[in-house]
Symmetry: C2
Subunit: 344 residues, 2 copies
DNA sequence: ATGAAAGCGCTAACAA
DNA sequence: TTGTTAGCGCTTTCAT
């Protein structure tokens, strides 16, 4: 039997092919053939049975990393994403894992503590041996001097993919749609809640909105509220103070870089009785499934998160197995109008 | 230089210690010493520099799985969870990853297609070499004949952990609290929306509620609506038909096994104008952050998901590094009342 | 049909 | 101070 030391702790022995071989009275090579279903004409049915019995009784499981080391073919895919608590990434992961399930293991890499991920985070991911790598919404500058050894795909980082194949969301168009809707509802002065982290997708969300508003004769105020994490609590905490200023400036609509920030605004406004949305609209990017239930109602632009995950999975799989980078794509977004009109 | 074939595709060569050694004119052993910061008195500052320069110029990164194979000390932790789209697990993961960040890589294992995970899913996880394993809310029977080679922790599976160390949520108490609240609000006939998958946590949620209602002279109807996945859409689709029956039976409160199911009920009710919650209360387990914004309002029992992740991480770390299984714990839950009263 | 041996990238004991 | 060697668990060629 024997025991194995795991960081100083005695623990159960991990059964190896050698154990199985000994038990079955064969060599490890034979065990390898049997467990990999390559026993066709190369192993007697007799011994195959014997090996299988030994596998069963010992509870043998292949060591995947030893296997991929020997085969020179990694069996895992890693995805690096900034913020797990945002359902956008959960949905993305859900779609992705559906596609790669069974074919590759999924390594999830998230920034250690709070804050966005950086180059070091990616390098940490690249220490595992990877068949493929997905970088979701990398911050600006993160992609510089990064030369991966495996097929790599960049998600939701419009315009800044530095030669990496990429799948983006049409966030600029989303911003213009939002602008059109708000101006149609009579809003003329709009404030913005964004993030301190600088990434292409965020930048374009604001730019699309700003240019759209300008086109329709409305304005986006320059003094944004910037949160340090894209979580509900951050917007909830920061909104009251920002609103004081915005209200004086005649703002009638607040646009958030993400639905979860809008949740924070709604929570904050409800708690403080700030008159939202009697005459103030809250709008956002990334319409999450539960956003249809918010009160007051929220207008936002739907991002196809799960679909993005699926397409990313398929693109990466073809990149890995067929070869040649997949062509870049931009997935459409769709305005979901729910906001009230501005008071005249 | 050379190139490496990745499943038939020519791709960039992955730089190895041997490449660095050649470039620096030293042996791989020296490289190993340098990159692992064990060069104290064992390597000249001179050669150390040379190696570091080679590392830099070639872009060398350690191969983590080869490393853990050689050291007989795995560097990854895996968590198996049923449903990524439920923010409960996202929050759990967030807490967990905060704790293990930098110390271990996190392998996320989810059931291939839809449906809950089974023993095969866990075995797949156990093929990676793992320092520790976390099983979140395993279905009944999944833990049988499972003998892991590494420290293993079971989460939210009250009463059914088969000797594994475990951290649970006090779901039974949660159910009784919910029952007390609903009866105080005047509700006497309550219906339930649960899941077809049989797991201890779900079972107790219903049992706690049922016994609590009984105690207060109210009843839980026997004909539950059972969804096949704990997602908003499933409850949204199933609710209208169930409601027809429940309404005839005089039901004034609907309790859901999870907040996301309650979201589905609210969406469905709003869409079909079913009179919820003019005189009907919707209550649920697992109060998610955004639940405070739902309209109509939702009463639910808050589950400390992020805290569960943190405690799981700490417990597993101590199990791995200090040794000896952590003692079992049950985290408290807290009723968050928001529901309206029953019409007399 | 089966086994011995080499090698994947790395670490660790031991030589030099 | 540095290199040589063996070995981690596995696959794969090549003898037998």
């Amino acid at each position: 039997m024997g025991r194995q030391v795991s960081r100083g702790v005695p623990f159960m022995h991990r059964v190896t092919a050698k154990d199985v071989a000994t038990r079955a009275g064969v060599s490890v090579a034979t065990v390898s053939l049997v467990v990999n279903d390559k026993a066709d004409g190369r192993v007697t049915e007799q011994t195959r049975r014997r090996v299988l019995r030994a596998v069963e009784s010992l509870g043998y499981r292949l060591n995947a990393s030893a296997r991929s080391l020997a085969m020179q073919q990694p069996g895992a895919i890693a995805i690096v994403c900034p913020e797990l608590t945002n359902p956008f990434y959960a949905l993305l992961l859900d779609g992705l894992s559906e596609v790669i399930a069974g074919r590759y293991a999924l390594n999830l890499v998230v920034p250690g503590s709070m804050g966005d991920y950086d180059t070091a985070t990616i390098l940490r991911a690249m220490e595992m041996d990877l068949a493929g790598l997905i970088l979701a919404a990398p911050g600006n500058g993160v992609l510089t001097e990064l030369n991966p050894y495996c097929p790599t795909l960049v998600l939701d980082s419009p315009g800044t993919h530095r030669g990496f194949p990429a799948i983006d969301l049409d966030v600029t168009h989303a911003g213009r749609e939002l602008a059109r809707h708000l101006t149609e509802q009579g809003h003329r002065r709009v404030a913005y809640i964004g993030s301190v982290v600088d990434k292409a997708s965020f930048r374009r969300r604001r730019e699309g909105l700003a240019s759209g508003l300008l086109e329709h004769g409305a304005t986006l105020l320059p003094n944004d509220l910037l949160v340090d994490r894209v979580v509900m609590e951050a917007a909830e905490a920061g909104f009251p103070q920002a609103w004081q200023e915005w209200e004086r400036a005649g703002v009638t609509a607040v646009v958030c870089a993400d639905d979860v920030l809008a949740y924070g605004v709604l929570a904050s406004a409800a708690r403080l009785n700030l008159g939202v949305p009697a005459d103030v609209a809250v709008a956002a990017y990334n319409d999450l499934p539960m956003s249809s239930l918010t009160s007051p109602p929220l207008t936002s632009v739907a991002f196809p998160a799960r679909e993005l995950g699926i397409q990313a999975g398929e693109a990466l799989l073809s990149y890995i197995e067929v070869g040649g980078p997949p062509r870049n794509r931009t997935l459409p977004t769709r305005l979901v109008p729910r906001a009230s009109t501005a008071r005249p």
